[in-house]
Point group: C2
Chain length 774, copies 2
């Protein structure tokens, strides 16, 4: 891998691959994937290779294959594949000779390109150039271009291109085949319908094929099962270039912009749409797309790092690219998948990854999107209430994995092989990893504190806060001996510990959730009687609040032991300690399970990820520095960082605790989760949370931005290698520009309202701007 080609204009905007190998196809397919929140397309090459994974996902188009499987984002028909035959032989980079190869994802323009000179096994030199993007202007649009120049000989060039609905999710076919049709011998259309959720997908494609000024017409029409396309046979004379443009669009019956339209109407609309875009040509459609990225992303999410390590800035831009590509900002019925829209991993489901890792970015940088993501959780209340009821609890118990809002819990139940029994291992998270509920409550509180969005709170926020509190209150278990409430049989953030009692993170966060609910409930009772009475009708607040108050005080909150270490749960500290060097030095995540099954891992002091550290980060004021240091030093050596959620939290904590070098090292590991040298860990898709995590490392970590008790604190401490860091955030609706150097921090606003901030432990109130020496 190579980052930054050195040319001035491309500096820190390019992720590039300079040698093609079929051994690790998943890497670039995933990390160079194209998306616009509406859809995501994995960057499999135009030509096919063994081991490739070709995916097109449409946000929200969930379908359940059968009653034994959970709902997932289905792999929609593919338009990216081109079957290229040169002089009767299949074109492949595995044959012949390849020179000047480069594949690039230009982050700035969100365009994928690939170019090389290929000498065929017969000795003919041919230059190839491929381009592709998924439009941010017209969310339905995919645009591709291929240029082929015959450098040394005439060539017979044949290309079959169209729409291939034979794609599956690793064997599970989610679509009934609809009509295949070719209009006017050039507009190719395929209809698919999800088998269970009955979402219709309409896909169109068309081509413009030129040699010089001469348009190539009369392709042969081809239809196969679930497949329709056109084959072009052309002779490219020596010195000539074939320009092959392919435009495709996708519409569905869940699209907001065609809401209420029939399938027939959508077919017509989509056909009109592609005809219109087709008139523009690749160049102009691309211009519009680049403009959208400029306006909606690069100007809006302005961030700059002056570092002697140029990769740092590239990585943060790459994070912003991904945060844009994967987020369905257009529709609050949809959440963010743990792998974005870049792979089948985690089936497109949303986890606490959104609230704990990604949402802070949107709250600070694009509150409208943050609100949409929280509205998704509001729409998910029905499913959360269902889950609570099914488990014998009250209120809203959020699903560990979420898909369509009212689906409820969609975590699969069976996983990979248990190396001891040879059976499939049971997945317990959907049953036991319950902290997701308080994580969502926490996120709502954070959103409210940072944005001051009363409207959202009135319409959605309070109801979630109260109903999640109701869940926790019903969930508490009275321990007669200790005379306190326990939360038993859970999984905390550290998923290597199943069926534990009193996971500290879980207990503290539940306590926080209930506390918030009490606070806001009393506030509303006083200040907004109409709303209070409306919510009381739904949630029986009046009869609950005294119970909440009584119980919340008796929740057991683990305290530090004699070594100042907070026990992660009731038994962690008593478990066996083994040498973890082998796994700490692993090249592949989860290597532990080649030696142990999960029951064995459960009995040892081994952590997958930040657990207590996450608690310190979210409820920072509840713990002393000594406890944080001691706990960090105790747990980190036992943590394998086998989750992509682990490193950014450790980085922030390390910086908080003054370990600057360590923090920067952890930051580096965090931004290398997908961009780094490991060639297989992104196979199932990029790590969505890690991009939110990377942004948090920079803003929450090195810039020390934190919302604490409703106030904004800035407490920067830049890495040695950084000269300057500047970025925008919104605070209570106002845009702040923050610039940090090793010497001072400067905050300026665009608006005229006064702003109050705590900078380096001192409160400042200002309008326009302020500069504070560090």
């Amino acid at each position: 891998m190579n980052y930054g080609l050195g040319e001035r204009e491309f500096k820190n905007w390019i992720v590039a691959e300079e040698r093609f190998s079929t051994n690790h196809l998943g890497k670039c397919e995933a990390i160079m994937y194209l998306g616009n929140g509406y859809m995501g397309i994995r960057s499999a090459t135009e030509e096919t290779y063994i081991g490739e994974t070709r995916n097109t996902f449409i946000s929200g188009s969930f379908n359940k294959f059968d009653e034994h499987e959970v709902t997932e984002l289905p792999n929609v028909a593919d338009v990216t594949n081109l079957k290229i035959i040169i002089d009767g032989e299949r074109f492949s980079l595995e044959f012949g000779e390849v020179q000047e190869y480069v594949r690039k994802l230009n982050i700035k323009t969100a365009e994928l390109s690939r170019s090389f000179i290929w000498t065929s096994p017969k000795g003919k030199k041919i230059q190839f150039e491929f381009k592709r993007f998924v439009s941010l202007k017209n969310l339905h649009l995919i645009s591709m271009k291929m240029e082929v120049t015959a450098l040394s000989h005439d060539i017979e060039f044949k290309v079959n291109s169209g729409i291939n609905g034979q794609m599956t999710n690793t064997g599970s076919q989610h679509f009934s085949e609809g009509e295949r049709r070719i209009y006017d011998k050039q507009y190719v259309q395929l209809i698919q319908t999800t088998t269970q959720s009955k979402i219709h997908i309409v896909i169109n494609t068309t081509h413009k094929v030129m040699i010089g000024d001469v348009e190539v017409n009369e392709p042969v029409m081809t239809m196969d099962r679930r497949k329709v396309g056109l084959t072009y046979n052309v002779q490219i004379q020596k010195g000539k270039t074939l320009a092959f443009e392919k435009l495709a669009n996708i519409f569905t019956t869940i699209d907001k912009d065609v809401e209420g339209k029939s399938l027939d109407e959508i077919r017509k609309i989509s056909l009109e749409n592609i005809k219109e875009e087709n008139c523009k040509g690749y160049v102009n459609v691309f211009k519009e797309h680049v403009n959208s990225w400029k306006e909606k992303v690069w100007e809006k999410y302005r961030i700059d790092i002056k570092s002697s390590e140029e990769f740092d800035l590239l990585a943060i831009r790459f994070a912003l690219y991904n945060l844009t590509a994967m987020t369905p900002a257009h529709d609050s019925n949809m959440g963010i998948g743990a792998k974005g829209l870049s792979g089948e991993g985690y089936k497109g489901h949303s986890f606490w990854d959104t609230e704990a890792f990604i949402l802070p970015f949107f709250i600070y940088c694009n509150p409208i999107v943050a609100r949409s993501l929280l509205e998704y959780r509001y729409k998910g209340l029905a499913g959360a209430r269902k889950k609570a009821k099914e488990n014998g609890y009250e209120g809203a118990m959020y699903p560990w994995e979420a898909a369509w809002p009212n689906d409820g819990e969609v975590t699969p139940v069976w996983g990979g092989v248990d190396i001891v029994t040879g059976k499939q291992a049971k997945i317990w998270t959907g049953f036991l990893e319950q902290h997701i509920t308080s994580d969502i409550a926490y996120a709502i509180w954070q959103y409210y504190m940072i944005t001051g969005d009363e409207e959202f709170m009135n319409n959605c926020g309070y109801e979630i806060l109260f109903d999640t509190a109701k869940f926790w209150v019903s969930r508490l278990e009275w321990n007669e001996e200790k005379q306190e409430y326990h939360i038993n049989d859970v999984i905390g953030p550290d998923e290597y510990k199943e069926h534990v009692n009193n996971n500290a993170f879980t207990n503290y966060m539940a306590h926080h959730n209930i506390t918030l609910a009490i606070e806001y409930c009393e506030k509303l009772r006083k200040e907004d009687k109409v709303l209070y009475s409306k919510l009381d009708k739904i949630l029986e607040l009046e009869s609950s609040i005294e119970l909440w108050k009584d119980k919340v005080e008796k929740i057991y909150l683990p305290t530090p032991n004699k070594d100042n270490v907070i026990p992660q749960d009731d038994t962690y500290l008593q478990k066996k300690i083994i040498n973890l060097d082998k796994y700490k030095n692993q090249t592949k995540v989860g290597s532990l399970f080649e030696d142990f099954n999960s029951e064995q891992v459960n009995e040892m002091q081994i952590s997958k990820q930040a657990d207590i550290m996450m608690l310190f980060y979210l409820l920072e004021n509840k713990f002393s520095n000594d406890v944080k240091v001691a706990s960090y030093n105790y747990y980190e050596p036992k943590t394998l960082h086998d989750s992509s959620l682990s490193l950014s939290t450790h980085c922030i904590l390390a910086n908080d605790l003054g370990h600057k070098e360590l923090a920067y090292e952890l930051f580096n590991r965090a931004i290398n989760i997908d961009l780094g040298p490991s060639m297989t860990t992104s196979d199932h898709g990029i790590h969505a949370a890690s991009f939110g995590g990377a942004w948090q490392c920079v803003v929450m970590g090195f810039a020390g931005v934190r919302m604490l008790g409703g106030e904004l604190r800035i407490n920067p401490s830049l890495p040695e290698k950084w000269e300057d860091l500047s970025f925008n955030i919104y605070w209570k609706g106002q845009l702040l520009n923050i610039q940090v150097t090793c010497e001072n921090v400067e905050v300026s606003t665009v608006g005229s309202e006064k702003v109050t901030l705590i900078i380096c432990n001192k409160k400042y109130t200002f309008n326009k701007s302020i500069k504070v020496k560090l």
Copy 2:
């Protein structure tokens, strides 16, 4: 392609490929497929190539993907694929150098083998030998062996092997995923259940891996979605050989030998079964299999041709191989698919191909199997009655395509692209190709005449004959003007003519069907009152027979025109005639549709296949020689033989009409349908009917064997190149051996009963044997 490697023992038993190319993978996958009637496995290579089609089918396991698709034989989980990594690189014949390559299907032993010396891109020489068979002894069993010898260097050899349930039927997934399990770290099991028909499939596999005398143990267990397996990592030292045996079995809940057992019981039985077979090892399991082929096929279906063209004998043996591999002789709930068990083509459905082309072989050579195939049609009566009713007719209207007996019509409704409209073309055969009903009646009559099996007639045959007649009688349309019954809006055998009136074949065969019914009905009324009254209750014979008699006489039976040509239908002879040279010389079947759509073809005098010729063949005595000659000369030049059903009929007719050279040429074309040089026409599977056709060319054609009016006639006329032809057939339960030379014909029997035959137009009665000069 090469046939016969020259070694004496292999002579005329080997179909071989001497150069591997990924351009035409389908050819050998299909024509070298392995089967035992219970299952069929396409011969995709162990290692994967782009463009391969890997199929495993279990007879009768039909499933319907959704309400828009028709039921089809699902592609069961694969066990043939081995993922081989040598020194960290994927093994593929597309890389490195290949020497001494040969892939062979040994027809005698029904074993597929492949061997070569491969020099890796890194310059290491390695010898490979692969073997594989599907047992005819234990129908559930698949056995594979791979031997790898490191010739020049030590190699790191890694192989992943197991069961892969990610297979689909060109994108349609027919299975819900059941449990994956590895017992004792060595017995790998995967359960699948068809989504609609709810058939459970249990697949097991196990390995024995040796280097010299040392067994390789401790594989790594791997599980993925729909996939489970083991990975072996071994070092093969220079000069050493790795012997890798893989045994697999498949059981289903529709298997007769585990009828009534629960899934859990079948899992246990199948596991016991594979453990038992595993103790024997490849060599011994193979011996048992070869023995079964000897007993059940080569000794039973003895046929010998002494020809200067050795390919003739190989081809006829290849036909017998295929007739065995594809026929579900073990279960009368199952029919023969038009592509056998060798590909997805025609979805495993049975057509008139069985009755008109394949059944004669079984009637004459293995009447028990013939009976089972007719019982399949008897079980299909419910579906046939349903179809009649749905179409507003009485009696039994057989489905054009049949799957599970009571499914009724399963012909798909939409096909490939219409090049004029760009829409999918409608498939009319399921609606209009109605002659299948009389073809089945004809086959029953033929079976009865040749075997004399009264029991079958009493239990099944009469009921079919009468109920199919009832259909036809209700189907006839009164033409007031002509005062006769017409059959309008049909497709005859020639499928290039849709929506025609009075297709001669259809009218004559319907007439024959009704005539037979009247004859047997009257016979039963006189001779078997109990049976008659039983059938009368079901079919209301008493009230029908006079109507049948009245109508049958008034059916319009097309007569020759002034040129002695029988019109194929009411309009054929008036249609446009175009020059067909281009299509007659095509290298690919159906090239016509690249220039015309079916509506345009319908308006021209172009035939797909034998139509009037088929009529002459089946009802030979109804037409004069002059009419046959004139019609042959008229229609053959207009026939593109775009159906594999065409050539054998033309061959037999040509021989009947005295065109010996032409007949032999047509025979040659017929036996080259799959074995010939066309590298793509077998892609979707072998042509099942063509193997019955090849046998008929020899026995009905060159030997001139024919059942005529209940008598057996032999009227041989061997090709110039043939010296001697001998074969066995059963006549009324007696085994006859017939030996034909250009000078005489000799018939001998094993039994002691007298036999009456017509040899060269003269009747002979004899026991033991008779020799007649030609």
